[in-house]
Symmetry: C2
Subunit: 215 residues, 2 copies
DNA sequence: CTACATTGTTGTCAATGACTACTTCTCGGC
DNA sequence: GCCGAGAAGTAGTCATTGACAACAATGTAG
């Protein structure tokens, strides 16, 4: 009679797979993720994961979805933390970059999966929450006169794009000598100052896309 | 006697492998890259590539190196194109993003390989040229009084980080509805305006890194 | 012409992702 | 209480892949 042996049914295999997969990709990257190794880690046959995730990509999609949900939680909470709009803006930025530094491989998976052909609509849309938060903050600051008038959608995209770069480079430890805190602070400072000053018409970029062709 | 048959020695297998690998990753991503498939494409035995690239990672490293060299050419040329500093700044930004959009998979390979453990010193340093160019432009603009005084190294990093984000998102077609040109123009406008205005001391970001912990 | 390094060929092995057929457990209706 | 359907897990198989080793063909220096 089996006693302390593993029960035939794992019971929470799906969650266990996701949890273990998170750990694995942070240690070995996405390429280090193997369904068979995952099964071995959980003392389960190599075919068991297929019952919960059709194939490897399905598991990765689920990982990405969970990542976005966690990240959005952090960003939303940060959007209400701080005295003024300026601080709440910085708070959101720090929350984003913090998440990236804490889960670098997950972030990579999230954004490489997001536009993958065949990705779910849910996955494709859930990544936009951060931009919505930024736009709301910017719009409110414009109303109060803290920032110069301007297209909030474009400005929000500029902020998102810039902080996304900071997040990715910070996650990849590619900020050379600079500390993450300094880079994020300087970036938010520069962006906010730029939005506060507005863009003088004479300064508008007029260089055609691409510039000179070298090759 | 063999006539039109393939000669025993390919002759330029290394270059052919790199060239074909470039095409492959842009079409199928890095995961779609297979040494054996590469060999088949070039009508060569499946073991031949090993003579030129110790393993798959070695080939990818070589791809990344070639990518950085090409990108640096474009950026350097763009740094001298345009009337004033403001336009040359935009020209560099456009050159960077243009390169990213033209070779999205290659860019991913370049930056994912750059900090790979065991990457060559050459590879680790060659990616910094862009920042040097940006810093030189900023320093010159500060001297002329076009930009407010400030730490050029940090400001250059801010610009690089921001444009890197724009480049990656543009390459991944993740700018939602916005056009690449608009986003890059708005980003350079905002950054330049922010650097021109400088950062009022009272506005300095004082939010501690991380903000509130949610989980 | 001969020794040798380079380049390419062939064969092989372990690991992997995906598929199929089978077994074991759970649960709801009767 | 049983029983049948379906969920969950097991076991076996196949093609592909990366890596490696042994061997053959080529070019070249002495």
């Amino acid at each position: 009679m089996v006693m302390t042996d593993q029960p035939y049914h794992h019971g929470k295999l799906r969650e266990a797979l996701l949890e273990r997969a998170m750990e694995t990709i942070e240690q070995a990257g996405v390429d280090g993720l193997s369904l068979r190794q995952l099964a071995r880690d959980l003392n389960v046959s190599h075919g068991a994961p297929a019952k919960h995730f059709r194939d490897k990509q399905a598991l990765i999609d689920a990982l990405a979805l969970a990542g976005f949900e966690l990240m959005n939680q952090r960003i939303l909470a940060a959007a209400h933390a701080g005295d003024g709009l300026r601080q709440r803006f910085a708070s959101v930025a720090n929350a984003y970059v913090d998440f990236a530094v804490s889960h670098p491989a997950l972030l990579t998976v999230m954004y490489s999966t997001k536009h993958h052909p065949g990705s779910s609509t849910e996955l494709r849309n859930i990544g936009e929450q951060g931009i919505h938060v930024a736009r709301a903050l910017i719009a409110e600051a414009q109303d109060r006169g803290d920032l110069a008038p301007g297209d909030t959608e474009t400005l929000a995209m500029v902020c998102f794009v810039s902080l996304h770069g900071a997040a990715l480079l910070a996650a990849g430890k590619q900020l050379d000598g600079n500390s993450v805190e300094d880079v994020v602070a300087a970036t938010t400072d520069t962006l906010w100052a730029g939005m506060a000053a507005g863009v003088p018409a004479a300064q508008l970029s007029q260089t055609p896309l691409g510039g000179p062709r070298v090759l």
